[in-house]
Amino acid sequence: MKMKRFIAMTVACVMAAGLVACGGGASSSAATGSSTGAATGSSAAAAGAELSGGVATGGSTSVEKVIGALSEAFMEENTGVDVTYDPTGSGAGVTGAADGTLDIGLSSRALKEEETAQGLVGTTFALDGIAIVVNPENTVSDLSLEQIAQLATGQITNWSEVGGPDAPVVLIGREAGSGTRDGFESIVGVEDQCVYEQELTSTGAVLAGVAANPNAFGYVSLASVDDSVKMVTVDGVTASEETVKDGSYKIQRPFVFVTKEGEALSAQAQAFFDFALSENASELIANAGAVPLV
């Protein structure tokens, strides 16, 4: 009898653990940008009257760091304003702006024609470069956009075909729905054709995966590249703030504010919008790993 009770309890624990584990992936992190804080932004918003209320933003998960840094600095200046960020994906950001559930939608791609036809306006506030990284042991240092596409789709299966060592090609990427994955696949032109060896759920995991496997290559946001991996040049251009801004580095995408045409934003949302586009924000954006426009 005692044993049965013990088993029943253990079963309950295991089931509960299973349910918790299932829910784990869905937890959305609150936006906490790099703590660049006091550097900028002291004069921008202080001029206006006291602002209060909420600014609902949401959408692309790739902009999380940038929006975190911007909203942190903005809220420091305007203590009455609460800027929220809901990481739901670019598609949901555009939809949210269209149906009015978001004050400002966030997208990490330019708006499509059918979206602008709905009366939506996209305002680019930053650019993001996507770096192609390989294991430091890999001797390949430059790839063309076409070679990257062929490597990703499995047309090239050995590194020797692109001037590297005689080793198989392993693509490590992000899970379906990720902004970085969407950005990489759409820019390189390999949507839904990639042959992945691993699909991981965070930038850090991709870096760790590439660092651990000499055959691997992957894509990560330019800002998050570290010394554990080697960045390759694309068509001879090194990814950097300058090459992204002047457009010579190909694998880049815009971070876009999505708003409704002809519909005025609330005072606090407009102030945040202006702040993000002002010169004061550029250092925050750069520190958060994206490339500011001004």
Partner: protein, 290 residues
Amino acid sequence: MKLKHSIERIMNMVFFVCGMVSIAAVALITIYMIWAGLPAIVKIGPIDFLFGTVWKSTAAEPQFGILPFILTSVWGMFGALLIGVPVGLFTAIFLAKLAPAKLGNVVRPAVELLAGIPSVVYGLIGMIVLVPAVMDFFKLKSGSNLFSAILVLSIMVLPNIISVSETALRAVPEEYEEASLGLGATWIETVFKVSVPAAKSGIVAGIVLGAGRAVGEAMAVMMVAGNVANMPGLFKSVRFLTTAVASEMSYAADGSLQKQALFSIGLVLFVFIMLINWALNRFLKRGEKQ
């Protein structure tokens, strides 16, 4: 006297409410899973959903076939049991029947500790130590595959198998064993021919419990299995039912067919766990009748 009586009644109510909480939770979860999981199955078609071999949830023309996930979970479970059952059962026999008291007192807490290690830690160690080791040992292009996941799972199911089996083995009446010894059997013969058969239903319950853990585990396998929706192969990157839900849920837009399909995967997983529990109860009932 009256006061005592009313305290008695109030406490009775408190216990009743507490008991109802878990029942209500199970009922709510069941209803919600069916309510949230059925629409996508109907929309996609049960055959296409359960037996489709291609999962491309975000493609321009999305495909939602979860057969790769189902088979991966099943293979993963059997693989984990293939390694975990012999090791676990022999450990349980060792602890219950063979180990000197001192040694047993070291091994038993170690097994209990194994049960308490969070699954993310299993995953982390698997990712950092096991995956590169598997890659080097088998000369593979990547070590994130079903095999690595099976190794991690087989360690994770050990505590379930060991503790339940040990309890069952200890519950075998001493008279059985004494009779066997009296007939001239050695102690090892007695353990394998008398004690283990007598504790059979408890041991099976432990194995089924381990199977439940293997099917339900998400975090650890997510970190070592590669998570690509391939049909399962021992050295292929694979995605389990649990990880299919966990890896895509955070980005799936509300109301999209993708999100609904993820709930449907959850429903399938839920049915799996229910079947395993049903099997568990059957074995336990049979054990009681004996």
